[in-house]
Symmetry: C2
């Protein structure tokens, strides 16, 4: 019987980082690359469904998503859950825990994920030595804020159909921007319960709403995932113009 491989490994040197090689992110200078390489502690392989960060705890680590995807969420005491946003390759997670004393949200893997692990207590050193990297972290935080603003507008003021259309279009665009799913394929795995908890709707009503989008041939929902049939129709239903596109950094 084989022993299963360790969850945390150190396989990939930063200069062979698949994110850097992908061309979706800004290039590092050699010095930055060397520093990030020393800043990195290892890699974390998370199975689908596992919890990466837990609300109320204090994690000594920061992470950058290398592959796979997951979601951030909060819950009320009685179990009601709200998904706040999704984390995709290139996203930096755990910053809140560096700045506040404990995490105020949880993060869970949707698919199997590989994350790059950094030491939180060396974060300030990064700001001191490589201000451009510090600025990049601010950039990522401001972008996260911008996405949350749009989600809040959506949950607060859009109807069920508008919200659902917005969410699916949003995920499609985000996934496309980092080539998380090959163009034109299913965005998965994602259950209708996840969609419901993102939209602030019940599971039943979410199902009925998605069926209507299906009927309009805007999407095709299939087992734990969906395919976009007509992105323009979705955007038009949502009254959403799409993600601002700008060259983006990562850490």
């Amino acid at each position: 019987m084989d022993t299963s491989p360790p969850k945390s490994t150190r396989n990939i040197p930063c200069d062979e980082c698949p994110l850097l090689c992908s061309g979706h992110f800004r290039a590092f200078s050699e010095a930055e690359l060397r520093f990030v390489n020393t800043f990195k502690r290892g890699e974390l392989a998370s199975d689908a469904g596992s919890t990466i960060l837990l609300e109320g705890t204090h994690s000594p680590h920061l992470y950058t998503v290398i592959s796979g995807w997951g979601f951030r969420y909060k819950t009320l005491e009685d179990g009601r859950r709200q998904i706040l946003n999704y984390v995709l390759p290139g996203d930096f997670i755990g910053l809140q825990g560096s700045v506040l004393s404990e995490m105020h949200h949880s993060v869970e893997a949707l698919s199997d994920m590989i994350l790059c692990v950094f030491e939180r207590n060396r974060l300030f050193e990064l700001y001191e030595k490589y201000p451009e990297l510090g600025f990049d972290i601010t950039w990522l935080a401001a972008r996260e804020e911008q996405m949350l603003d749009e989600h809040l507008l959506s949950v607060g003021r859009r109807s069920a159909a508008e919200r659902a259309a917005y969410l699916l279009a949003f995920l499609y665009e985000r996934a496309g921007a980092v080539a998380l799913f090959p163009r034109g394929t299913r965005i998965a795995p994602l259950t209708q319960q996840h969609v419901a908890d993102t939209l602030g709707l019940s599971l039943v009503h979410t199902n009925k709403t998605l069926r209507k989008l299906n009927a309009q041939k805007a999407i095709d929902w299939l087992d734990s995932g969906f395919e976009i049939k007509d992105i323009e129709v979705l955007k038009q239903i949502a009254g959403w113009t799409g993600l601002p596109d700008i060259a983006r950094p990562f850490i």
Copy 2:
């Protein structure tokens, strides 16, 4: 006939900044203070009701709120409005415009406000020369994100009464943390329309919900503002434990 005073003035040197003197924020080093003083372009006095930043535009400035308060919001094409968060003394606004090419939300003054104006294109210089200040900006961004997370949970998953209780308790705590309103006095001006647009509810239903909180002697709503009668009851209704309290920086 007198000419009205200019909207933008340069009166207060940073070492006499009322925020610094208030003791609610971390102290600057002398060098930081000198730099911030050169980074500052002037002051902006905004009348209640005026727009400070407008969605879709590109402002060359960043602001720190010196006094008064306002709110950030987004609107849909047909006019539906969602208030995203409130800006209080010490808050830094306009960062999104520095990072994305244009603003994706608007900011409006609730009361008369005084804002400290910074040049956006010198922001990176701040990161280079004073990494600690850069880190502080990240701190502020992460804190904003944390507030938005809680708002999203609220709008997505709390009932009308829970949401309203959360919002009023939240505003009370935030105002208290920077002594925006003397303890025990009215939090104002704020109309029920503002509350409705924050909670994602209609004006009528917001009114009925606030009346119930009134009847429970948790709050006292009076013309364009409210007074907290029982903060603990509000927090308990909302299932909210309050703001994390930590020594906070500002720029």
